[in-house]
């Protein structure tokens, strides 16, 4: 049953790593603008955009 202690340590280490990742994410400002990245993702990157100006009025 002492294997429980090993498992306990492993689970705490793993959870601790996630906690550190979360703290890093907060400190680097990732939670300050949660809107713009979602828009940025949807815009496709293509450079032959000249043709796309159709008579849209």
């Amino acid at each position: 049953m002492t294997v429980v202690f090993v498992l306990l340590g492993a689970s705490l280490l793993l959870a601790g790593a996630f906690l550190i990742a979360f703290i890093w994410a907060v400190k680097s400002g990732q939670f300050e603008d949660t809107y713009t990245p979602s828009i940025r993702l949807l815009i496709e990157d293509d450079d032959n955009s000249q043709d796309q100006v159709s008579g849209k009025q």
Partner: protein, 813 residues
């Protein structure tokens, strides 16, 4: 005299005669055609060509007419002050001679295409290496090469493509604040981590493992739990503990005090059980509680990044001013370096930034935002012009007589009310409830403990801890943020943006409502025009031909109401400040403007602003422009009068008094020609009578009253524009919702009280049963977090359901 009355809202201005501009979507009054597309001005057309040449035409496929009209191109020198190293030091976030970083606020960004273009600036301008948008804050972060492009050139470039950065006096004086939620998020993360792990370690206990059966495991689990609970106590809960210590020092009772007592009692009792090996303690409940409390705090701290609730005149005033030196040359200098005696040049539609004497012959000054007076006032050479007025007409020269900070208007901010920190929190309902509550709890705990001390001293300590734990008003601490936070989100649906949760509480207690008139009850957008005289539609078309070239407020309003009429071409156009417009249209000599300018007969004079028309030297008629009341006001006033005392303050003259009397009835107090200081004093006087005042205003002149009142709501037709310091910002078209906002605030407070009662009963019954040993330990352990979840679900669901019934549904924009 024939009278034709027409009421027109701005939508009607977009008529079929004028196609919408391909770039900015505004109706094209002066049509410019290119590539088979219509543009409203040369500026829009040139931005279109610039983007197309640089393979950025995709801009127009991301959104229909995404652009903003570029700034006036003729006045590049207005950014000259940005060449001043001292100004650069304040504006730039970082610079080392080559690489520079700057953050601009750009109010005109509004859609997907804007984000895309602003983040692709490097394709347009080689000096820009990287640009990143924060859309909710309307901010643009730019990395650029200082040696290739100066800050002034960068601002000019952005302004040229329609994204002019907003640079105000405020942006120079204040440094950027770090996001307030950062530390709260980290605390929540830490508390969540510890809570989940302690819960895991407590599972054996839930299923009946005791010290007697397996001392090794139990000891390991409980001590690991103690280790994990320490960061929660000393880091996660430190706000509550620190606030409680402050409360004790100041000898006031806030909600934090009983919470802190409860937290400490729960923790101490758990430690005692663990040390004495008599049980596993309640560390899981303790960490869970802190986790939920922090979650409530984050939920309650709804912030509106694009809005600002604490603006003063510095964010309204320009950042630079054109100073005229002795030799007559103009020089752009930062406003804070303007000195008494300096001569400055103020151009059309710019703000006069300091009290000054007019040196030009004549100028019209629009004071609407500062005093509430809706008509521009004519000033002639030698007249004193107070700071904050907008200069209309051709550029004028002024001589400064007072420094900016000690001008007539800005003196309002020297009132002590603006220096005092907000002390409103102490009066909040939760704090008032906690005061009585804490006294009762401590009295009960003391009585019960003394009782048990006589019979069973060991039991006495348990009883003391139990009473404190049961009585911890954590339910209240949870119910309030979640209810108020939900209410804030519901208000937002109706474009009412509340500064913080305490404002909702304050709204529920309001019994007196003070209205400002200009801009609050009336709005230029709803101007009513009455035509007098013998003007045909063709004549009015000729009037439009003149007024559309003028930016005088009356001309703009008149042009809007004449939207659909075809207008012929005007030649030899001339505008004289204080008099009017003159031009030749279809061979006729047309004069539009004041009575003197058109030789109007005496019976055509009106107390309201009037635009007279003379054709070929003969007076032919006039248009009377009334500032119309916002729609829905009669119903609003009728509803509000049932519950509150109403008052009306206005900086304007009493010419609309009869109309307002019809609206408000005889029993409402009216005060006209009130200075900003008068308004502040009036609100204070009401408060001295023991009334809780809601002030509703819109301009800088209301700033003092908004600040002094218990709740100040600023009404704004353009939410991205300036609004004075206030507790809440309400969109102008949502003003009729005010009754429901007030009613729903009271409902929210009742929901808090209800959930508090529910949770208290729950705890009393639960612990009562547990003390008698009738409950399995694991059930007790699970029930405690469930009680928190119940309270939160109850308040959120009840608030949302009742909110829906009150009409707080999502608006289709």
């Amino acid at each position: 005299m024939t009278i034709i009355s027409s009421t027109q809202s701005s939508e009607l201005g977009h008529d079929h005669a004028d196609p919408a501009c391909f770039h900015c979507g505004e109706p094209c009054r002066d049509l410019v055609e290119s590539d088979g597309k219509a543009f409203c001005c040369m500026g829009c057309q040139s931005v279109y060509h610039l983007l197309n040449q640089n393979q950025l035409g995709k801009y127009y496929s991301l959104d229909a007419a995404p652009g903003a009209r570029p700034g006036e191109s003729g006045r590049r020198d207005r950014f000259a002050y940005l060449d001043d190293p001292a100004v650069q030091e304040q504006v730039l976030d970082f610079h080392d001679g080559t690489h520079a970083i700057v953050t601009f606020r750009i109010p005109t960004m509004h859609c997907v295409a804007c984000i895309w273009l602003l983040e692709n600036l490097y394709k347009l301008e080689p000096a820009v290496s990287r640009s990143q948008v924060n859309f909710p804050r309307k901010e643009l972060l730019i990395h650029f090469d200082e040696s290739m492009m100066s800050l002034r050139q960068l601002v000019g470039f952005l302004s040229g493509i329609g994204y002019e950065p907003k640079l105000s006096l405020e942006s120079l004086e204040k440094s950027r604040a770090v996001h307030p939620n950062r530390s709260l998020y980290i605390k929540l993360g830490v508390a969540g981590f510890c809570f989940a792990n302690i819960m895991l370690l407590s599972f054996p206990g839930y299923f009946g493992l005791t010290h007697a059966q397996n001392p090794g495991f139990m000891r390991a689990f409980t001590w690991l739990s103690v280790a994990l609970s320490l960061p929660v106590l000393f880091y996660g809960a430190n706000d509550y503990l620190a606030a409680a210590i402050v409360a004790v020092r100041r000898r006031v009772v806030t909600i934090d005090l009983p919470i802190a007592i409860g937290i400490v009692a729960l923790y101490a009792h758990s430690l005692f059980e663990i040390l004495s090996e008599s049980g596993a303690g309640y560390l899981d409940s303790f960490t869970g509680l802190i986790f939920f409390l922090l979650l409530g705090r984050i939920f309650q701290q709804k912030t509106y990044d694009a809005l600002s609730f604490d603006r003063d005149y510095t964010s309204y005033f320009p950042v630079n001013v054109m100073r005229m030196s002795a030799d007559g040359s103009e020089q752009s200098i930062p406003l804070n370096r303007l000195e008494v005696g300096d001569r400055m040049v103020v151009r059309h539609h710019e703000l006069v930034p300091a009290d000054a004497v007019l040196e030009s012959e004549a100028a019209e000054i629009d004071y609407s935002f500062v005093t509430g007076e809706s008509d521009p006032a004519l000033r002639t050479a030698g007249d004193l012009v107070y700071a904050g007025g907008r200069h209309l007409g051709e550029a004028g020269t002024y001589r400064t007589v007072n420094p900016v900070s000690r001008s007539h208007l800005t003196q309002l901010w020297n009132n002590p009310i603006f220096e005092k920190a907000e002390s409103r929190d102490l009066a909040s309902l939760t704090n008032r409830m906690s005061k009585k509550f804490t006294i009762v709890v401590i009295a009960t705990a003391t009585v019960a403990t003394t009782w048990w001390l006589r019979t069973d001293p060991a039991m006495a300590l348990r009883v003391f801890a139990s009473v404190l734990i049961i009585a911890c008003p954590c339910a209240l601490a949870l119910a309030a943020p979640f209810t108020l936070g939900t209410a804030m989100r519901l208000f937002e649906r109706r474009r009412c943006f509340v500064k913080n949760a305490a404002v909702v509480e304050a709204l529920a207690r309001v019994d007196t409502i003070v209205f400002d008139k200009t801009g609050t009850l009336t709005a230029d957008k709803h101007a009513q025009v009455e035509w007098h005289g013998e003007l045909t539609d063709a004549d009015r078309g000729m009037v439009k031909a003149l007024t559309r070239h003028s930016t005088h407020p009356l001309s703009v309003r008149l042009t809007d109401t004449l939207g659909a009429l075809p207008a012929p071409r005007a030649t030899t156009f001339n505008e004289l400040p204080g008099l009017g417009l003159e031009a030749t249209v279809d061979g006729h000599r047309l004069r539009v403007g004041s009575a003197a300018w058109t030789e109007a007969p005496d019976d055509a004079l009106s107390p309201h602003p009037t635009v007279h028309v003379a054709i070929d030297g003969l007076w032919r008629g006039c248009a009377v422009l009334r500032a119309a009341l916002r729609p829905g006001l009669p119903e609003l006033v009728g509803q509000l009068k049932q519950k509150s005392r109403l008052c009306l303050l206005s900086g304007d003259t009493d010419r609309q008094a009869t109309e307002l009397r019809d609206l408000f009835g005889e029993d409402v107090e009216f005060r006209f020609q009130q200075s900003p200081q008068d308004k502040l004093a009036f609100v204070r006087q009401l408060q001295d009578e023991g009334r809780r005042v809601l002030m509703i205003g819109d301009g800088l002149n209301d700033a003092g009253a908004l600040r002094q009142s218990d709740v100040g709501i600023a009404v704004s037709d353009d939410l991205s524009a300036f609004s004075p310091a206030c507790d809440a910002i309400l969109a102008g078209d949502q003003l009729p919702m005010l009754t429901r906002i007030l009613a729903f605030s009271s409902t929210a407070m009742r929901i808090i009280v209800a959930s508090f009662v529910i949770s208290f009963l729950y705890n009393v019954i639960g612990i009562g049963v547990a003390v008698q040993g009738l409950l399995e330990p694991w059930i007790a352990a699970v029930l405690m977090p469930i009680s928190s979840i119940t309270v939160v679900s109850f308040t959120v669901l009840a608030t949302r359901m009742l909110g829906h019934r009150h009409g707080f549904v999502v608006l289709k924009s």
